[in-house]
């Protein structure tokens, strides 16, 4: 079995496949790899972070979806999970962390506080991180259950699978 040598030599890959050769595009292969090895950068500032930890622990086990490699360095990750309330003072920190992440990068806004300020309708809190970050997936809930976070990660995977650009790069290209 294996790759049919004659096909490679002749430069034709579709004449004889033997059931072992897949014709595809580079993008599809790369995206397939990307979606199954998302490296999340956790930005947990409140109780949502506890649910995020539960999601990563043995019971819910995010590694079943290829996203267990949590990195606390933004330079090694491509999925930012904002879980918790973001104050005006914290905002520049979060913005800098997002800027340090290499492209392509995705953002999940986890929970009511990150998405819209939640119950904290006060002078000190940003009413939704989408005011300064391009958010790809929002999770409702206060806090959301681990299943919700898994669903959000899978939604990001679906977006990658379909070849959609992350919100962030759309913004960058439009500018």
């Amino acid at each position: 079995m294996g790759l049919a040598n004659t096909n490679i030599e002749s430069g034709s890959s579709t004449e004889r496949t033997d059931g072992n050769i897949i014709t595809t595009t580079i993008d599809k292969v790369v995206n397939w790899g990307r979606k199954n090895s998302l490296w999340p950068m956790p930005f947990g500032t409140a109780c949502c972070a506890i649910e995020m930890m539960a999601t990563l622990a043995s019971k819910y086990d995010l590694s079943r979806f290829g996203s267990e490699a949590i990195r606390f360095s933004p330079r090694q990750s491509d999925l930012l999970i904002v879980s918790g309330r973001i104050s005006i003072k914290m905002m520049p920190v979060l913005k800098r962390i997002y800027d340090q992440m290499p492209e392509p990068k995705w953002v999940i806004s986890m929970g009511a506080c990150a998405s819209c300020g939640g119950v904290f309708d006060t002078y000190t809190l940003i009413q939704g991180v989408d005011q300064f970050l391009p958010v790809d997936v929002y999770i409702p809930g206060c806090p959301p259950r681990p299943e919700d976070l898994i669903d959000a990660v899978m939604q990001v995977q679906r977006q990658i699978h379909k070849g959609e650009l992350p919100k962030g790069s759309e913004v960058a290209y439009n500018e």
């Binding site: 005006i88 003072k89 913005k95 800098r96 309708d121 006060t122 002078y123 809190l125």
Partner: protein, 182 residues
């Protein structure tokens, strides 16, 4: 069990109060031992010496908290203390003998928002006074580093004052990434 506890507080707590009454007769505006904790209201001029006395002579070595209260919407309190808008509150605790707490309250008027810092007495007062300055705008004289501690450095106003709007004055909507604290 409860009776025992009451006996202890009745015996030990008013002792502190008696000593304070004796030493600071003119400075005390109000005092009370009716609640579980003893509290005294002292005028600003004598507050530092009273706190120093509590620390050095009565062994109240632990400064639990420094904060303030904005009484601007509490007419009864305002009338009682010559319309001083703020009340700076010190919570003290002693580990010596029968442990107990004392609360020292100092009226501070809006015209003269100054009070002597107690950082010389307790190192813990440093951040606590910074927080009180940040939230209420009270100027602690003699503080080594009186900056904001919770709000961003470029924040305007003092958000725990009663006249500060809950939803802010537009700072939520008009942020600036150049002025970073990061």
């Amino acid at each position: 069990m409860n009776e025992e506890k009451e006996e202890i507080t009745e015996e030990s707590q008013p002792l502190v109060l008696e000593k304070l009454r004796e030493k600071f007769t003119d400075a005390l505006l109000t005092d009370s031992d009716t609640s579980d904790d003893v509290f005294v209201v002292v005028n600003k001029e004598s507050s530092y010496t009273l706190l120093e006395y509590l620390k050095t002579d009565l062994a109240y070595s632990f400064l639990v908290d420094v904060t303030a209260v904005d009484n601007s919407q509490l007419e009864s309190e305002l009338m009682q203390y010559d319309y001083a808008r703020f009340m700076v509150v010190y919570q003290l605790y002693t580990f010596e003998g029968e442990t107990s707490r004392v609360r020292v309250k100092v009226p501070v008027s809006e015209k003269d928002l100054k009070i002597q810092s107690v950082t010389e007495l307790w190192k813990a007062a440093n951040w606590l006074e910074r927080e009180t300055y940040d939230m209420f705008g009270i100027d602690f004289e003699g503080h080594p580093d009186l900056r904001r501690i919770l709000m961003p450095d470029d924040f305007e106003g003092h958000p725990l004052r009663k006249d500060y709007p809950l939803r802010g004055r537009g700072e939520r909507e008009s942020f600036n990434f150049d002025k970073q604290n990061a």
